[in-house]
Each structure stands twice: as C-alpha cells, then as structure tokens.
C-alpha cells in the first residue's frame, strides 16, 4: 500500500478487530476469500454513548441495504460514516450478530459450543471500555438478507467474491469494531470462514480503494 496507509490488518478467520478511524480517514474492508460476513459496529470515539443505529440508518435512507452513498447514522440520527465505494452492491442492516445464545434458537442446543460474533464484540469491545450494554444491532458487510413480500427473511447465499471491498469515510473520530463472523451453520460465510483485511487510509487517498463502484 501507499504511504497514505495508516494501518493495514489481516483479520484472521473467526477473529475480531478494532481500531480508531479519524475524521476524514477511510476504512476499507476487503473480502479476501469471498462471501465472508463482517459484523461491524461504530462508536463515537469522544462519546461512546453515540453508537451506530441500524434503525436510524434505515429510517433516514428509507431503505434496508447499504451501498455506495449510504450514511451510517448514530442513535441520535447524526452521520457517523458514509460509504464511498462498494464492489458488492448490497450489505445487511437487519440481521444482527450471531451469538451462542441465538444459535441455540436457530440451530439447536448442540450449537452452543460454537464461537460467535457477540463473543468477538464483547472481547474486543472490552479493550475500549465497551460492555454488554453497549452492543446493538450491527452492519453485516457482504451478507445477503432479502425480505420477501410476506416478511420472510433469511441469510442466503452471498453476492460477494474474493477481493471485493467496501470503503467508508469517517465523519468524525470513530472506534470501529469488527467480528469476522465464525458462523458455520448458514451461508453467511459460505460455510467456510475466511480472513478479511481492514485498511485505514488518510483522507485524500482512499477513494480509489473502492474498486469498480
């Protein structure tokens, strides 16, 4: 990467990542192996009470899916980040994070022993003083969750592919929290969790990081 790269981290399969993204900087997430759900939360670095709100993001846009131009909003409706480039075309706002607890509902109690995104969020969030009360509905980059006319919704086969990426610009100083989803019971990771890359770049550089969008 160029000199404007602030940080570049390969997040192993099943692992969390977090980092500070300063106002004006760009965060890109690269789906290295293809069809890898990346669970994602944002907090205002100056006041972590101000965190991503899926519902405000959706209500303001009048639309469920995220893509280029989408504005991620906080619990008070204010912009946190803007998607500036997107190779995939559709990302989920309503499916939330997998947990050991919800796995028991979705698949049965035999699934309790499996690792899950909420474990990652709790583990990684603790580094920033964030706990259980701070978790909320998250973005799922690269995850495909259609809603049928009768309301039936579910995680179906993904639209992503190896190397596709999404880039967002921070509208203020943000803590970004990632869980590279370890789920193996549905197609959100194509039944095979793989690494992703998180890249933070300086203000004037990263617009070219978003690929063909």
């Amino acid at each position: 990467m160029s000199a404007e790269t602030v940080s570049e981290t390969v997040v192993p399969a099943r692992a969390p990542w977090s980092g500070l993204v300063r106002a004006g900087q760009f965060l890109s997430i690269v789906d290295l192996g293809g069809n890898q759900a990346v669970d994602f939360l944002l907090y205002d670095a100056a006041d972590t009470d101000l965190r991503y709100s899926a519902q405000n993001t959706v209500a303001a846009a009048g639309a469920l899916f995220l893509t280029t131009g989408s504005v991620l909003r906080d619990v008070e409706h204010r912009p946190m980040a803007t998607v500036t480039a997107d190779d995939c075309g559709r990302h989920d706002t309503i499916g939330g994070a997998c947990s050991k607890e919800s796995n028991t509902l979705r698949y049965g109690h035999q699934a309790w022993g499996q690792h899950a995104c909420v474990e990652n969020f709790l583990h990684e969030g603790a580094r920033w003083g964030l706990g259980k009360r701070d978790l909320t509905g998250n973005v799922n980059w690269f995850m495909n969750v259609p809603v049928e006319d009768d309301g039936c919704l579910g995680i179906v086969d993904g639209l992503s592919a190896p190397g596709l990426q999404v880039t967002m610009r921070a509208e203020r100083d943000l803590i970004a929290l990632i869980s590279n989803c370890p789920q193996i019971n549905n197609p959100c990771n194509a039944f095979d969790p793989t690494p992703v890359k998180a890249v933070v770049t300086a203000a004037d550089r990263a617009t070219e990081g978003g690929g063909r969008a």
Binding site: T48, A59, L64, E76, E101, T136, G137
Partner: protein, 289 residues
C-alpha cells in the same frame, strides 16, 4: 409583576390558593372534578370500562397514554398487556427488558432473524439478546407494525416538526424512552432498537421501505410477558409517517394477570425456534426459582 397580579396579592380572600389551607383544599378538589381522558387509573380495577378485558382477570395496569406521551411498568411473568389504538392514530414504540436484569433486553435483529420474519403478528415472540422469549404476541387486530425504523429522535423531529424535546408539542420517541429509562436507573446506552406497533412499514425486493399506515380505530394487540418484564413505550408518530403534522392519538394500555405460555399451549410447538426460545426462558426461570 403585572398590575392585576399585585392587585390580587392585595386581596387574598379572592384567591383560592392564598393560604396553605386554601391551597390544600384547592389541590384536593381537583381529582373529583377532573375530566381528563388520557390518564392512569390506580388501582387499575377502578378503570371504568370493564367490558374490554377477559372476565375475572384482575387488572394490574390501566392507562391511556396521550399522543406524545409515554408509560412504563414492571410486570410479572404471564401478565398480558393489551394495547388499543383508540382512534386509529396511535403508534407505540416498544422497548422491553428483563426486569431486574436490564442488560438482557429486546433484540429486534434476533426477533426477525430467528423467526424468519420481519413482520410481527399473532404467534410471534419478542426475543431477548440472550436467546430467550421476553414476550409473545397473543392477539393482533392491526397487522401494521414495524421492526425496521425504530424510535424517532429529537434531531429527526426538529427537522420534521421544528422541535423534538420532551416539553415541546412534538416530543420524539427516543427522548421519552430516555426518561422512562432514567426512572428505571437506566441510561441512553441501555435503550435497544425498538418495535413500532399500529403503524406499519413494508420492504420491496430492493429493500426500499413503504409506509403502510395504521389499521384504523379500535385495533388491539395483546402481548404476554413470558419473563419478568420491564415495559417502556412511547406513543409518537412513526419515523416514516409522511404527514407534515405531528399526528398521533391516544393509546390505551390495560394489563391483567395470567400465566406464561406452557408446553401444552399451541404456541409452544408452533416452530422449532419458538419452542427453543420458550424453553430457554422457562429453564432460566426454573433454575432461579
């Protein structure tokens, strides 16, 4: 002070509240003279209209929440809350918590994902973030609800109506829920995503949202507490309500004692996900009992 006020101060015998004794009489005369329709009834069984809830069930909550108002209550497992959209323009923003363990709270994402449906209706559960049923929807005469958009914020109400503060004529749901939370020693970060009852939204295949409005006056929804429940609700316009005016009418809340869903009830085995969520709740309550 104005001239008339100082004149009044010179003639205390003309004022109903010039002395402590007069002020006390004045205060005590207000209850019997009141004609306010949007109010609570305590004890709840003094609620005047006894025709609207099942016979023999003891009311534990009776309140009519004005448009722009909010309410909150702690309920025992099994309590049934009946919400009625009296005039067709109420919209209840609902937040639920496990009473006494408020870090376990309504999880809208799990509610729609686990049950494979975004549109709430009779037979749906409201799930916690810990894989347990907090409540079940017993009755739904509306069919117009929303899990996508949540509670309007002060910022959004300022843009739409010019103000969103609790003391304004156009309070925002989130501001009211913050107050309900504070009275339960909870902070804004404890407020989860909410569900809207009585005003609906549908998604088209591209994910674009369409406001479907309400079902008209008199529609009822019954919510059964499957766990000890802290209920908070704000009665405010839906965030996607396209009307320029702050349009919201009174919401009636009645609750009575009943029992949680049991394994021989049809709901228990209605889906594998519902069976496991109700089982998780029953297991937790059983172990702690």
């Amino acid at each position: 002070m104005t001239g008339s006020a100082s004149a009044q101060a010179d003639t205390p015998e003309d004022s109903a509240t010039a002395t402590t004794y007069a002020a006390r009489d004045h205060a005590r005369a207000q209850e019997s003279a009141a004609t306010v329709a949007d109010r609570s009834w305590v004890p709840a069984d003094t609620f005047p209209d006894t025709t609207d809830h099942p016979e023999g069930q003891r009311l534990v909550w009776a309140e009519t929440v004005a448009g722009g108002g909010y309410a909150h209550k702690v309920l025992a497992p099994g309590a049934v809350v009946e919400l009625t959209d009296l005039e067709g323009e109420s919209c209840a923003q609902l937040a639920l918590f496990w009473a006494g363990r408020p870090w376990e709270r309504l999880c809208v994402a799990d509610t729609v994902k686990v049950q494979w449906n975004a549109y709430l209706g009779a037979g749906a559960l409201l799930l916690s973030d810990q894989g347990r049923a907090l409540a079940s929807l017993d009755l739904d005469e509306s069919g117009r609800h929303d899990t996508f958009c949540g509670a309007a914020t002060a910022e959004q109400n300022r843009e739409r109506f010019g103000d969103g503060e609790p003391w304004s004529a156009t309070p925002a749901a989130r501001e009211l829920l913050k107050l309900a939370a504070a009275k339960n020693d909870l902070a804004p970060r404890d407020l989860p995503p909410t569900v809207s009852l009585f005003k609906g939204v549908k998604a088209d295949p591209d994910g674009r949202l369409r406001w479907t409005g309400g079902a008209g006056a008199g529609a009822r929804v019954r919510i059964r507490a499957e766990a000890p429940l802290l209920v908070m609700l704000a009665n405010t316009p839906h965030p996607l309500d396209p009307r320029e005016d702050y349009t919201v009418s009174s919401l009636r809340v009645l609750a009575w004692k009943d029992r949680p869903t049991a394994p021989d009830d049809p709901l228990w085995e209605s889906t594998p996900e519902i069976r496991r969520a109700l089982s998780n709740t029953a297991e937790f309550l059983g172990a702690a009992a």
